[in-house]
């Protein structure tokens, strides 16, 4: 205590408990700050603690649960903790990836909110020393009969496209769901994948006492400053408050040159450490880098480049202006570093140095305005075990619970028209999917496939981002398991072996026991699925408070899986390849649960959320994925399509469409008529009866099922391989040259549809819904 008292005290107004509370802190949190400092904090200091100890930065409600996730595995090079996780892709290549949410800003201003979300996840990957190779996005909106929701979708997609396209990074996959629970809380999650040399992953370190600390990139403005309510306090005049923009404008051009400059510096190994300015801006970057190295740091905010006048030290430390990075280098290398920034016309300034006292010291033109232990900001935030209640597991839904008179053909048309199932071409056509020329499989298949050409390799990665919110809404635990299973299964369908996952956990308020229970159950389920499937979690993101007074969102755990393929040119596609091939059903097609609970069919025809989500036998799922990887490696599969939303019949139709989609290169409008499309195939199959009825057989969403097609000469080998993997398999029919989809159930023809017509419905539905003004 006496030692602390002997030190100089920072200048500036003292923050008392009410000011801390206005910053969203609790009285107890304020007391711990006082204890850490041995004195009352200044307003600048309390601002810094409030952001670093916020839910967003400190994970105070989620940490106890996240700790239970499996994070280790053979392939893991970097688990959770750094800016992104990394897995070993062989040949000295690290695959670096992570998913992040930008939900709230996207509701206020969809274009800019989504754009800056993409900018943020890109910086997380770049900071690791990796060159980003691909983006994916997971989106949730209310239904499209509302103009507001169409406006949100249009803006969000435009923002993702605007940022990713300008950066020159292809957006190659993702998913979208529409449900009324997202009306006032749309979700925008973005995932990025990049590669770095495995032995040169960059960390957020501030090693080397005396080393210079460099600020580079965009100038600082009053963007995104937290704690607006604080302005009641005398220090901050109301005028300044009005100047704080509620939304930030993304600047992908600056980010692009920033990326090129940083990657050039890393390639020449001129950095000691690097960190982006994420949430909590300068405060976060300085305290985390210093703390990670067990050091301190001294910076002078007067040196920070600004785009407006009159910013206070408080504002500079808390600003969340985008497109900025912090870099620590050595005195010997600094001129070379600065030359590179100059080449790219970037503002770069030495704003401070690494110190040995463990303190983050903030000066304003030489006058000390804050001095706090860096470790206390970065690592000593509160950690809560919030009370929670877990809802009872619902009973499975039987066919008899949901009788349906509508003919199967009409059900199929309705499902294909449902924007949740319809083609997402209207969306992904706006994304540059081919820049850098690594994209082997674009959006539209089971998983995106990206060639690692830039690392001089013939290998590729497959990536998928999934999470069915209706399943999670019925049973958060199983919903999370199903998300892990689907993401990994989609990856395995291409022939890639899943190596790890990242996740984005979007939930309501953690302060409400029921929501906290959903979160706890989801994390538990996710951990269990990861253990059985052998895929560790390398990182992720939690987004709480996605609720308005009336409604919380459906609990939405989203899982991004990454897998490796040895050869980029050997990936398996989802569409049927050739007439005459045999159609096989592989996996859990004989279970007693038909997967009606939470299904698109029941949502559309019974308008209710009842029952349990599909049963999931994780052991069988693991065997199925192993089988898929092995079958692809032996070249036995001509196509593989996961049965998910809409069940078997929709999967079968989509396998026909995908063949046509691949050849569809000419039509100007996404909603153009599908007449005379080249490559359109059909299928003729027979499936056994289901105890829950014909509709359940066709549209139930039983998990762990994959529709495989294979050349006739591979039949014996494929069946034998399935037996070896202890995975059920049955030949159910064949691919036909006639674009006709025929399904018999137990000898009776229940579907006999023109594929062209189905395709027209499916391919045009989303564009049509968006034009519905």
């Amino acid at each position: 205590m006496s030692e602390v008292a002997a030190r100089a005290v920072p200048q500036g107004e003292i923050a008392d408990e009410p000011i801390a509370i206005e910053h969203g802190m609790t009285a107890e949190e304020y007391a711990s700050v006082c204890e850490i400092l041995g004195r009352q904090p200044t307003v600048t200091e309390i601002g810094m603690y409030s952001v670093m100890w916020s839910e967003h930065c400190s994970y105070k409600s989620s940490r106890v649960h996240l700790k239970t996730l499996p994070v280790e595995g053979e392939a893991v090079l970097q688990g959770p903790g750094e800016n992104a996780g990394a897995v070993d892709l062989g040949d000295g290549i690290a695959g670096v990836f992570k998913v992040e949410s930008h939900n709230h800003p996207s509701y206020i201003e969809p274009y800019q909110g989504a754009a800056t979300g993409v900018g943020g996840i890109l910086r997380d990957i770049i900071t690791m020393g990796a060159r980003p190779l691909a983006l994916l996005d997971s989106l949730r909106f209310g239904e499209l009969d509302s103009g507001k929701n169409r406006h949100l979708l249009d803006g969000v997609v435009g923002g993702i496209a605007g940022y990713g396209n300008c950066m020159g990074i292809p957006t190659v996959g993702g998913e979208i769901c529409f449900d009324p629970s997202y009306d006032k809380n749309p979700l925008v999650n973005a995932m990025c994948f990049g590669i770095a040399p495995a032995d040169r992953i960059v960390k957020a370190l501030a090693d080397g006492i005396g080393n210079p600390v460099i600020y580079v990139g965009a100038k600082t403005g009053r963007d995104g400053i937290y704690g607006v309510s604080l302005l009641a306090s005398a220090t901050f005049d109301a005028e300044a408050a009005e100047k704080r923009p509620a939304v930030q404008v993304g600047d992908p051009f600056t980010e692009k040159v920033l990326m090129e400059a940083c990657l050039e510096i890393i390639e020449k190994n001129l950095q000691v450490g690097m960190q982006d300015f994420g949430g909590a801006g300068l405060t976060c970057a300085t305290s985390e880098m210093a703390s990670n190295s067990g050091n301190g740091m001294e910076i002078d905010v007067a040196l920070v480049p600004r785009r407006e006048t009159g910013l206070s030290p408080y504002e500079v430390m808390l600003s969340e202006s985008q497109e900025r990075m912090m870099l620590v280098t050595t005195p010997e290398k600094i001129s070379e570093v600065m030359e590179i920034f100059e080449k790219w016309d970037l503002d770069a300034v030495v704003i401070g140095k690494v110190t040995d006292d463990g303190l983050l010291r903030v000066l304003d033109d030489g006058v000390m305005v804050a001095e706090v232990p860096a470790h206390s900001l970065a690592e000593e935030g509160p950690c809560y075990s919030r009370p929670y209640t877990i809802a009872d597991t619902p009973a499975p839904l039987n066919g008899a619970d949901v009788p349906c008179e509508v003919a199967p053909a009409e059900v199929l048309q309705t499902l294909l028209r449902d924007p949740n199932i319809a083609s997402k071409r209207w969306v992904f056509q706006q994304y540059d999917q081919t820049v850098r020329y690594n994209t082997v499989q674009r959006a539209g298949g089971e998983a995106a496939v990206i060639w690692l050409k830039e690392a001089g390799s013939d290998a590729a990665v497959a990536m998928s981002l999934d999470g069915n919110p209706w399943y999670s809404g019925l049973d958060a635990r199983r919903g999370a398991q199903l998300a892990v299973a689907e993401a990994c299964r989609n990856v395995a369908c291409t022939g890639a072996r899943p190596l790890g996952i990242t996740n984005c956990l979007n939930f309501g308020s953690p302060e409400i026991e029921e929501r906290m229970g959903q979160f706890a159950a989801a994390v538990e389920g996710m951990g269990e699925a990861c253990r059985v499937l052998g895929v560790p979690v390398t990182g992720g993101n939690v987004s709480f408070y996605n609720e308005t007074v009336e409604t919380p969102i459906l609990p939405t755990p989203v899982v991004g899986a990454v897998g490796k393929l040895d050869r980029y040119d050997a990936s398996v596609r989802s569409g049927f390849a050739a007439a005459g091939n045999t159609v096989w059903m592989v996996g859990a097609f004989a279970t007693s649960d038909a997967g009606l609970g939470g299904s698109a069919y029941v949502r559309n025809f019974h308008d209710r959320q009842i029952g349990a989500p599909p049963e999931l036998d994780l052991e069988l799922e693991a065997r199925l994925q192993n089988f898929l990887v092995a079958a692809a490696a032996e070249g036995l599969m001509a196509s593989a399509k996961d049965c998910s939303d809409g069940g078997f019949a929709v999967a079968l139709a989509e396998a026909c469409f995908a063949a046509a989609d691949a050849a569809r290169t000419d039509s100007a409008q996404a909603s153009a008529p599908a007449s005379s499309l080249p490559g359109m195939l059909g299928a003729n199959v027979e499936i056994p009866a289901c105890e829950h009825g014909v509709h359940a057989a066709l549209f139930g969403e039983a998990a762990s099922r994959v529709l495989v097609s294979a050349r006739g000469e591979h039949a014996t080998a494929l069946a034998a391989l399935a037996v070896r993997h202890d995975v059920p398999i049955a030949a159910i029919g064949e691919v036909t040259a006639a674009a006709q989809l025929t399904v018999d159930v137990a000898g009776e023809t229940v579907l006999g549809e023109d594929v062209q017509e189905l395709y027209a419905t499916w391919s045009g539905a989303l564009a049509h819904a968006m034009e519905n003004d």
């Binding site: 206020i108 201003e109 800019q112 965009a218 403005g221 009053r222 963007d223 100047k243 704080r244 923009p245 509620a246 939304v247 930030q248 404008v249 993304g250 600047d251 051009f253 600056t254 785009r307 407006e308 202006s321 016309d345």
Partner: protein, 91 residues
């Protein structure tokens, strides 16, 4: 009559376009450029000839569609009177 809605980013909002263009002008040797910001102008032909009606219509178009109040301000100008100057909308 003809009217005009001018939409600009709020002063405190970053204008990446403006920054880049200003830099380019500097590179081209234009030295006295202190700052440059880029906005949009909408020239609207209206059926009415009543300035008050026209102004109200433009005002509400600006609010509903042409400007994004979260990041932008707008100005309304009526052109039929020949003066070309106008009054500020919400500032």
């Amino acid at each position: 009559m003809r009217g005009q809605v001018v939409v600009r980013l709020k002063q405190e909002v970053l204008d990446p376009q403006g920054v880049t263009i200003a830099k380019a002008l500097d590179n081209l040797g234009y030295e006295g450029v202190g700052s440059l910001r880029q906005g949009k102008v909408f020239d609207v032909e209206l059926a009415t000839s009543d300035p008050a009606v026209a102004r109200t219509a433009l005002e509400s178009m600006a609010k509903d569609l042409l400007a994004n109040p979260v990041i932008e301000d707008y100005e309304i100008h009526l052109l039929e009177d020949g003066s070309g100057n106008g009054e500020e909308g919400n500032g």
